[in-house]
């Protein structure tokens, strides 16, 4: 018998629940609420750990059947998450306008690579328009102050 991805997911949830349960032991009771801040988390973590253990056990004994393979571009997903992560990290340093322009341009180019000057211009225009339009609408009409860049002050 071998674990399938359900079993592995169950193991991860089980481990996380147990680690967090361990951390609740350090919580001190409050004199105003004698049952303390760890009471409810212990119940939730305990029940989740139990369910996760059950998932591991059922998966261990379940007959494994290979499902139909669906073609999926996981590399594109990883790249998109990475680019978004960089965007989030860059926001406080470059500021909303520059970071958003770069993010929209790069994502657009990665998802649908431009061929020729016309498509590059279109990608850049979309990026510029999105960065400026969102900035303008939110800062000027909706009073939402968007992040300024520590490096750029923009």
């Amino acid at each position: 018998m071998k674990l399938s991805r359900d079993g592995w997911a169950g193991l991860v949830v089980l481990a996380a629940s147990l680690v967090l349960s361990g951390l609740t032991l350090e919580l001190k009771a409050n004199p105003l609420v004698p049952i303390g801040p760890g009471f409810y988390p212990r119940i939730v973590l305990g029940v989740t750990a139990l369910l996760a253990a059950l998932l591991v056990v059922t998966d261990w004994y379940a007959a494994k059947k290979a499902g139909p393979k669906v073609p999926a571009d996981y590399a594109a997903v990883v790249v998109q998450f990475a680019v978004f992560g960089i965007y989030v990290a860059a926001l406080p340093w470059l500021g909303f306008r520059i970071a958003t322009f770069a993010y929209v341009a790069v994502t657009n180019a990665l998802m649908d690579p431009p061929r020729g000057a016309r498509q590059w211009t279109r990608a850049a225009t979309i990026a510029l328009a999105s960065a400026l339009a969102t900035y303008f609408v939110f800062e000027h009409y909706l009073s939402v102050l968007l992040p300024r860049g520590r490096w750029t002050d923009f």
């Binding site: 998109q80 978004f84 649908d112 939110f138 909706l142």
Partner: protein
């Protein structure tokens, strides 16, 4: 009640409310028409635009999105055979064949008017049932609220299509998110994992935005790399003119069917997290069962379109009831609306309607007015919808994600919520990949604090744990949660047996 509703209608008819309602409905119709963009994603995109508005303006816009989105999916479903939203899947079955038979206008307008009437019937239920249900909920003590929230989470976990165990684990994970950071009763720090932005607890909106937006967008990227466009299959010269009186008569000449389909939609809407797609499928199934010509279903008959569209719009009314009477979001769209209420410092739940009658009846009025606005938008723009669906996703998706970032950031102008968005975006995508349903997770995140507060309150009031069972309403609700889990278990077993039998047949 009628005076308050009339006052609400007069109030919402002011330009300052009518404009957000109109633009919300327009955004909903467009978002609903775009395949791959759900109503949830549309409402997430609209959310940051409501931050600078007053509560009723914001909620009017969101109600418009909900109503418009529920109808918008039918345009592409009928003309292209591609449902704009999952709720329009059943509309494809008869809408697309009818369009292919040379009656695209009839098919579209049967859907639009069925949405209109179904939505209004849902509205009657919404307006009539919210106050009495809230009055019942006002009798609840912490034991009953605790049990009610447990029932909501267990029902959602059980009713999802994934395995029951995974549904329950997803609900547990949602509850775990709420125990991180701070204790909601005393505000004491706990389980911060040494991360600064976790110290004050985790806001549920960035979690919700991250989980839903990324799960959907990354799922699309995984399938198509974002290059998918529908332009090739469009028929630009399609004629949508039709005799409206004739179409309306086609619908209203079946009053009992219309009422029944709307009832199915409302019922599914009241039950948390089942969703409009299930409502329209169930109504379609019902339509087939009660029809004298079931063999004609799928060939382009009006009953199929009427069933699907009237029930998915009536579903909106049902979903709004649970959030307004109990503070429990019926689906992900109302979960975002709950977030919008929280941002404006308004507590949803049984006291909502008595403490904020103007706002509550304003929402009812917005809901009613959104329907004629939706009809107007589709009358003027159905043809344009076909052009909008050619928008390349490579341009659309990054802009949607930028709006998600703004939505998370603007909650309290800190980057912390953007980091939460990213973390839960990854988690949401992984959950979908590993087959864990998102609905129970989100409901766990939303109700977690309330479950804890009511549990602690009840124990502090009386330490006897049996009270949860011996108090009749609380006991009844807990029994209902056990029964819902057992029912789900039985249903999953039955499905497994059916699948096994089908596999067995296939072997021979």
């Amino acid at each position: 009640m009628y005076e308050l509703l009339a006052a609400g209608l007069v109030n919402i008819a002011q330009v300052k409310y009518l404009l957000p309602l109109f633009f919300g409905t327009l955004a909903g119709v467009v978002g609903g028409a775009l395949p791959g963009v759900t109503i949830t994603m549309t409402i997430i995109v609209v959310l940051p635009f409501t931050f600078g508005l007053d509560p009723l303006q914001g909620l009017a816009a969101m109600t418009g999105v909900y109503v418009g989105g529920s109808a918008g999916g039918l345009v592409t479903a009928v003309l292209l055979g591609i449902p704009g939203t999952p709720a329009a899947i059943a509309t494809v079955f008869d809408g697309h064949p009818m369009a292919k038979k040379g009656e695209p206008g009839r098919a579209i307008w049967l859907g639009v008017w069925a949405s209109f009437f179904g939505g209004l019937l849902g509205g009657v239920f919404l307006i009539g049932a919210t106050a009495p249900l809230a009055a019942i909920a006002l009798q609840f003590g912490p034991w009953e609220f605790f049990s009610l929230f447990i029932l909501a989470v267990s029902m959602v976990a059980g009713l999802t299509e994934a395995s029951l165990l995974k549904g329950l684990i997803a609900g547990g994970l949602g509850l775990i998110v709420t125990v991180l950071g701070s204790d909601p009763v005393m505000g004491q720090e706990r389980l911060t994992l040494g991360i600064d932005f976790v110290k004050g607890g985790i806001d549920f909106l960035p979690v919700l935005i991250g989980v839903f937006a990324f799960a959907q967008i990354m799922g699309e990227i995984e399938r198509s790399g974002g290059k998918a466009q529908l332009a090739g299959s469009l028929e630009r010269g399609v004629k949508l003119t039709v005799s409206h009186a004739k179409v309306i008569w086609e619908i209203l000449s079946r009053p009992f069917q219309l009422l029944w389909f709307a009832f199915v939609g409302v019922l599914i809407g009241v039950l948390p997290a089942i969703g409009a797609s299930a409502a329209s499928m169930m109504a379609y199934d019902q339509a087939k069962k009660i029809s004298r010509r079931p063999e004609k279903f799928g060939s382009g008959i009006p009953e199929g379109i009427i069933a699907s569209e009237s029930s998915n719009n009536a579903n909106v009314g049902g979903s709004l009831v649970t959030i307004m009477a109990f503070g429990i979001p019926g689906d992900s769209v109302t979960a975002v609306m709950l977030g919008a209420l929280t941002i404006h410092g308004i507590q949803s739940g049984p006291l909502f309607i008595s403490q904020n009658p103007q706002l509550a009846y304003g929402i009812f009025a917005a809901y009613l007015l959104a329907h004629p606005i939706m009809v107007l938008i589709l009358a003027l723009g159905a043809r344009w919808m076909l052009r909008i669906v050619t928008l390349p996703k490579a341009a659309l998706f990054p802009v949607v994600l930028v709006l998600c970032v703004i939505g998370a950031y603007a909650l309290n102008n800190t980057m912390a919520n953007v980091y939460v968005l990213l973390v839960f975006g990854v988690l949401g995508y992984l959950m979908v990949k590993f087959g864990f349903p998102l609905a129970p997770f989100i409901l766990g995140v939303i109700l977690g604090d309330q479950i804890e507060i009511n549990l602690v309150r009840s124990i502090m009031t009386d330490s006897n744990p049996w009270l949860f069972i011996t108090r009749p309403i609380s006991g009844g609700l807990l029994l209902a949660s056990v029964l819902s889990v057992l029912f789900a278990l039985w249903q999953h077993r039955r499905m497994q047996k059916k699948t096994a039998a089908a596999d067995g047949d296939a072997d021979f």
